[in-house]
């Protein structure tokens, strides 16, 4: 499936990157190569672009840019996303460790 088809909170592993050269190169430079695991964190308030996390980084890309990335969907283990639910569950503020 395509990266653009993942929903917020879902994880995937990159199997191929096939966008136009400029975008493809930028994606690869930022770590989106075959085998990279990523998680879709959220969509912008208007539905586009997408925010993902991979290799400890937060990256953004537009939906049409995400269409060129093929992924295998992975089972959700633990989401990095800070949601109000997790906030209410009592995560301590200010500790990244």
């Amino acid at each position: 499936m395509k990266l653009s088809e993942l929903k917020a909170g879902e994880r995937g592993q990159v199997t191929a990157v096939a966008s136009e050269p400029v975008i493809r190169r930028r994606l690869m430079d930022l770590g989106l190569v075959r085998g990279t695991e990523l998680e879709v964190l959220r969509f912008a308030p208007l539905g586009d672009p997408i925010e993902i996390s991979c290799k400890g980084l937060l990256l953004t890309l537009r939906r049409n840019e995400a269409e060129g990335i093929a992924v295998d969907k992975l089972e959700v283990v633990e989401s990095r996303q800070a949601s109000w639910a997790s906030l209410l569950r009592g995560h301590r503020f200010g500790k990244s460790a």
Binding site: V22, L27, D29, G31, P45, E51, L58, T60, A82, W84
Partner: protein, 712 residues
């Protein structure tokens, strides 16, 4: 000192790695901003004296890679190859090593004298990350110096290393990373072919060139295609592509990048220990609010509103204060000079000319303090994320929004704020949209005309409509540009959201100061020249006949036997009348008349034509010129300008609407044009743009006038 030795250092690194902080910490006030040859990318160069060395530091633009896809990357590469700096210092962010080291690997491939400055060590320690520096040095073959540019820690150590490397006392082993066997085979083959090409020169780095060719690098292609050996190389490349496809089902470019990632990932596994990050960080929590589906947009608009208020509401009293100072200066200098031409040149020409340049400074400084705060804190990238969808619909980028909104205050800082955009075509499109966002100086024109011809409630609607028209035409222009002349090279939205950081006060001030100096130096002279030119045009030539008429009239009034108060009033009226007729006689006046046939269809007579010409100096001047010129032959006392306009047969509701539309859309003031030229880097697009806006203004005013005549 004559014994001083020179060392040139180039700083390379990812965006947000802290290159600029290091550059500022090293060079302090000894800086110069120029441009890299052929491109509009800023080149920051500075120097420092350290232990009998004069160390010149060049801050290269932030890049993720060394491909030829973006001008920043091309500039970085060319600088390293052509200028051959003695030492390349690769600034890497300690908290984000894996991605940063990707660039380090590519710098290694260039076989330069490389030194790695491991920045943000304070944060690394705070987060409990441990880095095995010895092991990392072994793997990369370069010395790694831990620093914290923000806290000015480790800088002397870094400089000592720079000196040692430049003098060959530290050996840079220039390790090579080993790619997949198929790639290595192809590299060897191509490098061998290249080495037989004598014209390529003995100094060339064959391995690097071979890697670049395999990466489909167009700069490398054009370099090598010139030589006969290309025929053989092309075959070798095709073979390599086939092999990669057969064995790895991908292309060499992707495979090489994957190999680099694998190398860096391996190094990370070996050398870096991070505490397990199980819980969301502060950044994650801030993002949960700031990028929230519901709250994201309100937060964004609140921030934009705050920046706007900071720049223009806080800037206004400062602007007025500056105006007051220059007014005071004129008044106190005037009596010192002989009456007549000389005084007029100095007071009305030079002093008010300089004043009209300086008056924008408060806005520029405040806006850039705000923007650099947003940029350094990490919110700027998020702002672009939130609003990108809207902007992208018009072919623009999320980063276009803030400059555009700033345009409602003043085009000048707004145009300067487009620097955050990397892609030239995105920047140009945004710059050319900004003047349509009706600026503060145009407001007095609308207030005068809408107020004079419409009842208050209606006047507000008219003004709202004018603003809306500007937005529509601006966005439409952007879309037109992006689908025609500026079609190429849109910035992809693939970017990083940096973690939130508190910006340091000094860096915020520093940015604002740089912008102010740049504005005064680069645009100021141009604007000053243009303002003086317009002043000359509205004062020359002078009619001798009118001068004598004024002198005679004055003498007559003085000699008459009326009360002194009445005398003063009569004198004032006489002077106003003569002034208006002098304006009519001047170049500006004549061009107004010359223009009349062109602007007649819009409902304008030559007097409005003059105002439009003088309005090029600054848009609010339209009002004062209308005031001067429409008072000709005015006999009634104490009439307001709006009353005068209402009673003038040349003016109607339709004329007023048409004029508002024209003032909204036609050529921006000379200050804005000057800054535009500075930011665009060439006159041609600016002149083309001026012709375009004139055409748009004419057509829009024509339609407005004709429709208004039909309906009103």
């Amino acid at each position: 000192m004559s014994t001083q030795k020179n060392i040139t250092v180039a700083l390379a690194g990812n965006p947000n790695a802290g290159k600029s902080s290091l550059f500022n910490a090293l060079t302090g006030a000894h800086q110069r901003v120029g441009n890299f040859p052929g491109v509009t990318i800023e080149k920051h160069e500075g120097y420092l004296d350290y232990k009998n060395y004069r160390i010149t530091v060049v801050d290269l633009p932030g890049t993720y890679s060394l491909t030829p896809y973006s001008p920043e990357e091309i500039v970085t590469r060319r600088f390293i190859i052509d200028e051959k700096p003695d030492v390349v210092v690769n600034v890497v962010e300690g908290t984000n090593l894996e991605r940063n080291l990707m660039l380090t690997v590519q710098l290694m491939e260039m076989e330069v004298d490389l030194l790695v400055a491991l920045n943000m060590m304070d944060e690394v320690e705070e987060k409990g990350i441990s880095i095995d520096l010895d092991q990392l040095e072994q793997l990369f073959g370069s010395h790694i110096v831990p620093i914290s540019a923000r806290n000015r820690k480790g800088l002397d150590d870094l400089l000592d290393h720079v000196i040692s490397v430049s003098e060959g006392r530290i050996e840079i082993r220039k390790n090579k990373i080993t790619f997949s066997p198929e790639v290595e085979k192809a590299i060897d083959k191509i490098a061998a072919l290249l080495s037989h090409e004598r014209e390529l020169g003995a100094g060339a780095n064959y391995r690097w060139l071979a890697i670049k060719l395999l990466e489909n690098d167009r700069e490398a292609y054009t370099e090598v295609q010139k030589y006969p050996v290309w025929v053989k190389i092309e075959l070798a490349l095709q073979e390599a592509i086939k092999e990669c496809e057969r064995l790895h089902s991908t292309d060499p470019e992707a495979l090489i990048t994957e190999d680099r990632h694998a190398f860096v990932h391996g190094a990370m596994q070996e050398c870096v220990r991070k505490p397990k990050a199980t819980r969301a960080s502060v950044s994650d929590y801030i993002d949960a609010v700031v990028l929230n589906r519901v709250l994201g947009l309100p937060v964004f608009f609140l921030v934009v509103w705050a920046i706007f208020q900071l720049t223009f509401t806080l800037g206004k009293p400062l602007m007025l204060a500056l105006e007051f100072v220059f007014d005071l200066l004129s008044k106190s200098v005037a009596p010192l000079l002989p009456e007549g031409m000389v005084r007029s040149i100095f007071v009305d020409g030079v002093i008010s000319g300089v004043g009209s340049v300086v008056v924008f400074l408060p806005n520029i400084v405040l806006l850039f303090m705000g923007l650099s705060f947003l940029e350094a804190s990490g919110y700027m990238a998020r702002a672009a994320f939130v609003i990108d969808k809207v902007m992208h619909r018009f072919g623009l980028h999320g980063k276009s929004f803030i400059p555009m909104i700033t345009g409602f205050g003043c085009s000048i800082p707004a145009i300067m704020a487009t620097r955050t955009m990397k892609s030239r075509s995105d920047r140009l499109a945004t710059i050319m949209t900004i003047p349509f966002m009706s600026c503060g100086a145009k407001l007095p024109v609308y207030v005068l005309l809408a107020g004079a011809f419409f009842p208050p409630a209606m006047a507000a609607n008219v003004m709202f409509g004018i603003y809306l028209l500007g937005i529509v035409v601006g966005l439409w222009t952007a879309r037109l540009l992006k689908s025609t002349v500026l079609k190429s090279d849109s910035e992809p939205f693939v970017m990083e959201l940096p973690p939130y950081r508190w910006p340091t006060f000094s860096s915020v001030i520093f940015q604002a100061r740089m912008k102010a100096v740049m504005y005064l130096k680069k645009a100021g002279t141009l604007i000053l020249g243009a303002v003086i030119l317009i002043w000359v045009a509205s004062n020359f030539p002078r009619s001798q006949a009118l001068d004598t008429e004024l002198a005679n009239g004055k003498a007559r009034i003085e000699a008459s036997s009326v009360a002194p108060e009445l005398k003063a009033e009569q004198l004032q009226k006489l002077e106003a009348r003569i002034e208006a007729r002098q304006l009519e006689y001047s170049i500006a006046g004549r061009s107004g008349k010359l223009l009349e046939p062109l602007i007649r269809p819009l409902g304008f007579d030559w007097r409005i034509g003059i105002s439009l010409v003088t309005g090029l100096a600054a848009k609010e001047v339209v009002v004062s010129t209308l005031g001067t010129i429409f008072s000709i032959g005015q006999t009634t006392d104490n009439t307001s300008l709006s009353a005068i306009l209402r009673s003038d047969p040349a003016f109607s509701k339709a004329t007023a609407l048409s004029l508002m539309v024209f003032v909204l859309l036609y050529i921006p003031c000379v200050a804005a044009v000057g800054v535009m030229k500075k930011e665009v880097g060439a006159w041609k697009p600016v002149l083309f743009y001026s012709a375009y806006v004139l055409a748009v203004a004419w057509v829009a005013s024509f339609i407005t006038y004709r429709l208004a005549l039909l309906w009103m």
